[in-house]
Symmetry: C2
Subunit: 200 residues, 2 copies
């Protein structure tokens, strides 16, 4: 299905070319985790969003330099100092802390789990969530590939409701999610985050 | 390569049939994590090892019953009470908390990381580990698919040394690993764990 294709997490490595916009911005924020650099935020309509970068992507290389062991300021410096602002080559590993799980709605439209905002808090017995081994204390980052980070409970519910019979969730253990969004301004996540449906 | 094939983590669901041995044992231990049941230990030469079960596999179903929300005692009860000890059907999700990363040795045979026992503690710049985005605070569970849990530093070094030019590591964030092996008797892990090379 299209949702499945949009949600696909490969854990593979690829090269992505981004450019700076008129204000010299690429439209993403980094966070250092376990000596790696991760995408913590992608702004709606930004060059980063258009290049297909997503929350949780690991940045391996910026403009030819490995970023291992850098803090997020040093990694941002590499973006700032890049030779050609119209063409910054990034080495990306596709969302290493994430995985997908595909569920099917029952005849009442239920998937079989409760969420509080975008965190999974309970699994109901004898449901698609139970049969497929969905876990609590995980955050839902995407629904059929569409980012739901920062959405309120009702909004996440709405996305799930309108998602069709087959729903692929992209999840991350909450313990890692909490670390990844630490120090983030919540209004930024809520208002400016890219929530568009990705092209396949 | 064969190592890559042996190490493959699919996150997919499959059915596995196990039987009890002469002593009524299957040869594995469970742990409840996030309302799911996980394989915490597989004994060498046991029915569980022969059936291809591994540390970190999620048990979805035992003998037709979903295990969501059970504690490990209740899950073990389902194994004990099963109708036919010669044929217990398990629904398994392939190691949801794990991922693989493939590295290549340089001309000196180095991969580019330091480990303490089976935990990754440092990444060297300009190495295969750095280029591929290996992370610290992760545990190595398998090397080319071979379980290294409970091995001491030297033994892990030996496995890495003899692993050939291309080495696929199966890793898990240490924060999740620590939770998974909590309450485990270390001598059990060390002495009786299945460390055999898996068949593909």
């Amino acid at each position: 299905s299209l949702g499945l294709a949009r949600a696909n997490v490969t854990h593979g490595v690829r090269e992505v070319i981004v450019c700076k916009d008129g204000k010299g911005k690429v439209g993403m924020r980094f966070r250092a985790v376990n000596k790696g650099i991760f995408v913590q935020f992608v702004a709606e309509g930004s060059p980063a969003a258009l290049a297909g970068l997503r929350f949780g992507d690991q940045i391996l290389q910026i403009d030819g330099e490995n970023v291992v062991g850098l803090n997020h300021d040093k990694a941002m410096d590499l973006m700032t100092k890049c030779k050609n602002p119209g063409r910054i080559a990034l080495g990306i590993r596709d969302r290493p802390f994430e995985r997908t799980i595909t569920l099917h709605k029952d005849s009442s439209g239920h998937l079989g789990f409760e969420h509080k905002d975008n965190q999974i808090v309970a699994i109901a017995k004898e449901t698609s969530a139970a049969r497929n081994g969905l876990l609590v204390d995980h955050h839902i980052l995407e629904v059929n590939g569409q980012n739901v980070i920062g959405l309120k409970n009702k909004e996440v519910g709405k996305v799930l409701e309108t998602a069709g019979q087959t729903v692929t969730l992209t999840v991350m253990p909450s313990i890692i999610y909490d670390h990844m969004v630490k120090c983030m301004d919540f209004s930024l996540i809520k208002k400016k985050q890219d929530h568009s449906i990705p092209e396949v």
